[in-house]
């Protein structure tokens, strides 16, 4: 399966009478997009704002971040089984509005984290501070329950991203990238001497506000399975995850998974990237046993020498991570795990809730308990009232000058376990 990504670089977003992309500027007709999103009867009002890199702007609480894309050639459409009809995606050509994103905000639960600062020290911790963001602020109808509210905001974000993506349908790309995964037997023929490597991606699937969807299927109801990595680039996996902002994977992360990109970059040179396995992180322990059994079985079936395993979330998923690691190592396959840490404010405590001697190659996304001081911003987009909750709400406090002392956990993408971070210890 081969996919080309046609990147159209966006350096600015503006509201205008006609939605279009022109000379790297994304123009948006607010009214047209608002009408489109208000078709959902669970949403009572929609408003928009724009946040650009370097501005004194804070967005909170962030639910999801989504990159606008559109299928130009090949089967299916973006976000299959959700926005587009079910069809196998991941081949042909997809155009991308690179440098732009849709950010959804909505207070689904009162303790919801998710801060994006567009400037200042907080901006260094989130990759989304470097994007031109269209912020979609959705208010639910009176009395809407949390799970229905989450779904409404999830769909609003995806619909907005698909709307913007369609503006790129007939544009010429500034840059074209190509990604290809041949059949197993073909890749073994091509690179008989290179180590064979697969990617095991763990998806957050604990339940309400902790869910992930694959081709529209709630992944907690699936067993471990396989995808072509390019399917993710067309939105086969979307986020329904609202909590633990620092280490949840937004839909933007899934579309731009850096583990996949790095493995493709080394494919045919240092290693043979044969494909990927996706598995879940359910609460029920028998599900954990079954899913990790299948991860190990599929890795063995693929005949790989090594796998990279990435986690999503913390606590309960630590157990899935270690189960996957142990069982895959027991098949004689080397593993590297990517996680993050809750090691206390001083970083001195045990990092994970589970451990095993076979987890001897670990990459960390950082310590989510680390405390940072976010200075006041001139403008707050989203639910300003949440600042009142943050005063006591987060594991810190709102200072008299408007700054927030907060753990990294509150910052969207700060300790992401795909390694999609801007800071490193290198």
């Amino acid at each position: 399966m081969k996919l080309e990504l046609g990147n159209i670089f966006i350096h600015d977003i503006q509201f205008d009478d006609l939605s279009r992309v022109e000379n790297g500027v994304l123009y948006i007709n607010e009214e047209e997009l608002r009408e489109h999103l208000l078709e959902d009867e669970n949403i009572s009002s929609v408003s928009f704002d724009i946040a650009k890199p370097g501005e004194s702007v804070r967005i909170m609480p962030v639910k999801d971040v989504i990159e606008p894309r559109v299928k130009v050639e090949g089967r299916g459409g973006v976000f299959p089984g959700v926005i587009s009809k079910v069809d196998t995606v991941g081949s042909g050509r997809t155009n991308v509005l690179k440098g732009a994103a849709v950010v959804t905000t909505g207070t689904i639960v009162g303790f919801q984290e998710g801060i994006i600062d567009m400037s200042g020290p907080g901006a260094d911790y989130t990759p989304f501070s470097k994007l031109n963001n269209l912020v979609v602020i959705c208010e639910p109808v009176e009395g809407l329950k949390q799970h229905a509210h989450e779904k409404a905001v999830r769909f609003a974000g995806l619909k907005a991203a698909a709307y913007l993506g369609r503006l790129a349908k007939d544009l010429e790309a500034d840059e074209v990238e190509s990604f290809e995964t041949p059949s197993l037997i073909e890749s073994f023929r091509q690179y008989p001497d290179l180590p064979r490597v697969a990617y095991v991606q763990m998806l957050q699937t604990q339940g309400l506000l902790h869910d992930t969807y694959v081709y529209g299927v709630d992944m907690k109801q699936s067993i471990t399975t396989m995808l072509y990595p390019t399917e993710l680039m067309d939105g086969a996996i979307i986020s329904g995850n609202c909590v633990s902002a620092c280490d949840k994977n937004t839909t933007y992360h899934h579309l731009n998974n850096p583990v996949i990109r790095d493995l493709y970059a080394r494919h045919g040179k240092e290693l043979n990237f044969v494909g990927m396995i996706i598995t879940n992180e359910n609460v029920y322990l028998a599900d954990k046993e079954r899913s990790s059994d299948w991860s190990a079985k599929l890795a063995e079936f693929l005949g790989v020498d090594g796998v990279i395993i990435s986690q999503e979330g913390f606590g309960n998923p630590d157990t899935d991570l270690i189960m996957n690691c142990k069982k895959i190592e027991a098949k004689g396959i080397k593993t590297v795990i990517i996680t993050d840490e809750y090691a206390g404010r001083d970083g001195a405590s045990q990092s994970l809730a589970d451990a095993d001697i076979s987890a001897n190659a670990v990459v960390t996304g950082g310590n989510a308990n680390m405390v940072v001081n976010l200075p006041p911003m001139e403008k707050v987009i989203g639910h300003v009232k949440l600042a009142d909750t943050i005063a006591g709400g987060f594991d810190g406090s709102l200072q008299p000058d408007g700054s927030i002392v907060v753990e990294l956990q509150a910052i969207t993408g700060a300790t992401n376990e795909l390694g999609f971070n801007r800071l490193s210890a290198r």
Binding site: Q204, Y284, D354, T389
Partner: protein, 153 residues
């Protein structure tokens, strides 16, 4: 199965699907301090409600594991830290056997994790406390209902 029988069976499943269960719930015990389980008819399994803390629930579950019950749901369910949510619900087996070391390992690790977070227990909700508690309760409830659905498959 011919087509007509299939349609009838499908229709019966549709009519009775919500009421019917696999009956596996009767093999479960829910230990919880979440008040939502006191007022709600779901789930249909034995429920032991304690008016205690998050940690108290973990300790009670550990005691049950020592008595031979097996742990069935992960004690750290939800990406909400123990120093934030006051609520915890955990499923264990109704039947007992020998001491299950895997269950013991997980609950002991979870207690250690809870204690780590409680070393600095600045809590949520200095403002808007009622709304936050309702949300914490709802999320804990939904996660365990999803686990019971897994158990009932």
């Amino acid at each position: 199965m011919n087509r007509a029988k299939g349609v009838v069976l499908f229709a019966l499943c549709f009519v009775f699907g919500r009421k019917q269960s696999s009956g596996k719930e009767r093999y479960l015990i829910l230990i919880t301090n979440n008040p939502k389980f006191q007022s709600d008819p779901e789930p249909r399994c034995d429920t032991e409600y304690i008016a205690g803390s998050y940690r108290d629930v973990l300790i009670l579950v550990r005691d049950r594991i020592h008595q031979g019950h097996r742990l069935l749901s992960h004690p750290l369910s939800g990406s909400v830290k123990p120093n934030e949510t006051p609520y915890k619900s955990i499923l264990i087996s109704k039947n007992t056997g020998g001491l299950d070391m895997d269950s013991l390992q997980i609950i002991e690790d979870s207690i250690s994790t809870c204690d780590k977070f409680m070393q600095n227990p600045i809590k949520y909700g200095h403002n808007n406390q009622d709304a936050l508690l309702a949300d914490f309760s709802e999320v804990d409830y939904r996660l365990i209902v999803a686990a019971i659905a897994s158990a009932s498959r």
